[in-house]
């Protein structure tokens, strides 16, 4: 018994130590593919890491406004993929995303993007109705409609998988919430159907915001 609990403490300690500190805050990892470039400046060789970022996109939101990646400049955002008629995981995802919404709706530099993967059905008025049913107003949480092919491709950049309708008429998609920083790099992925993971997302947004509040960050 004693040995076991010692082991447990050991692991706990390890976890605590490995969560690296940054001004007393946790620094979130940068996810996704990366590449390096070697540069020679003033005779000195330096190696830079280039992180993959979310590519440009163009969608329409629930108000009928055109939204592109430009509208997100200066914002941290959380993205997910859904469709309004999704019977299985979407209500849970919506319930959990509402916690993110309610926590950060007045933050000013945090947004939520929910891309529909069924644009044929999910027109602007239907998205507006969906937002209304969730009491979502204003411009913090956008429900986005665009070309299906574009959305499937974009899904890949967000590291999630989306597939065509199955015979039961459902789209199979994993319910990840993806946290993107102001440089459009992926900083975290959280299972949107799990309240604990979404609680962690809400916590992590705080750390990510703090990165931009310190003078050291660019």
């Amino acid at each position: 018994m004693k040995k076991l609990s010692l082991g447990k403490y050991g692991i706990l300690l390890l976890v605590l130590i490995s969560a690296c500190k940054f001004n007393g805050n946790r620094v979130l990892p940068i996810l996704g593919e990366r590449s390096t470039v070697t540069r020679v400046v003033d005779g000195k060789t330096s190696i830079d890491t280039i992180y993959k970022t979310i590519p440009a996109f163009k969608y329409i939101n629930q108000y009928g406004d055109s939204i592109s990646n430009k509208n997100l400049d200066g914002n941290i955002y959380v993205a997910d993929f859904f469709f309004t008629t999704c019977p299985s995981i979407c209500p849970v995802m919506a319930r959990n995303m509402l916690n993110v919404y309610n926590t950060y709706k007045s933050a000013g530099d945090v947004k939520i993007l929910s891309y529909t993967i069924d644009p044929q059905h999910d027109s602007v008025p239907i998205l507006k109705k969906y937002a209304d049913k969730l009491n979502v107003a204003g411009n913090m949480w956008w429900f986005l409609q665009g070309h299906k092919d574009q959305t499937y491709l974009l899904g890949k950049s967000y590291l999630v998988s989306i597939a065509e309708k199955n015979p039961a008429g459902e789209y199979i998609h994993d319910g990840y919430f993806i946290l993107v920083d102001k440089q459009k790099r992926i900083r975290g992925m959280y299972m949107g159907t799990k309240a604990e993971e979404v609680a962690k997302l809400i916590e992590d947004i705080k750390y990510l915001k703090a990165e931009y509040d310190t003078p050291a960050a660019k």
């Binding site: 008629t85 019977p87 299985s88 995981i89 209500p91 849970v92 919506a94 319930r95 509402l98 969906y130 209304d132 049913k133 969730l134 009491n135």
Partner: protein
């Protein structure tokens, strides 16, 4: 160690108590516990852990009067789903609940669970009752 003894005694007491339960109470407990599992896998995503629903999107299962007054319709509703507009707990809902694909036994289980959770007190909704009501689905 002490904890284990207490746990053991507790279990023994539980066993004694449940042995003293009447047959109908036992039957209720069987329906209810099986129903709670059905609820978790088939309903909870939408209606929520505590039957709270989801804002104006999904109605709560806490409208005791509604459930009581519509007792005869519930089996058909769970089997075939529900689509349309109506007012519940003073709030308008317009949604779409998909057919559940549940069999008669699981419908009885889940209705007994829902009918006796979240403030509802409807007693056992038996397989026979569900069978009767299902034969009257519109």
């Amino acid at each position: 160690m002490k904890f284990k003894i207490i746990l053991f005694l507790g279990l023994v007491m539980l066993a004694i108590i449940s042995a003293c339960q009447s047959e109908s109470q036992l039957e209720f407990a069987r329906y209810y516990s099986a129903g709670s599992l059905v609820y978790q896998t088939k309903c909870q995503n939408c209606h929520g852990k505590n039957g709270e629903g989801l804002l104006s999107m999904i109605p709560p299962l806490t409208d005791t009067a509604y459930l009581k007054n519509n007792r005869k319709m519930l089996a058909c509703l769970v089997l075939n789903g529900l689509r349309g507009k109506y007012v519940l707990v003073g709030k308008p809902f317009e949604g779409n609940m998909p057919p559940s694909g549940l069999n008669q036994v699981d419908i009885a289980n889940v209705l007994t669970f829902v009918g006796n959770s979240f403030g509802n007190k409807m007693g056992t909704i038996s397989i026979e009752e569900v069978g009767n009501n299902l034969s009257n689905c519109k």
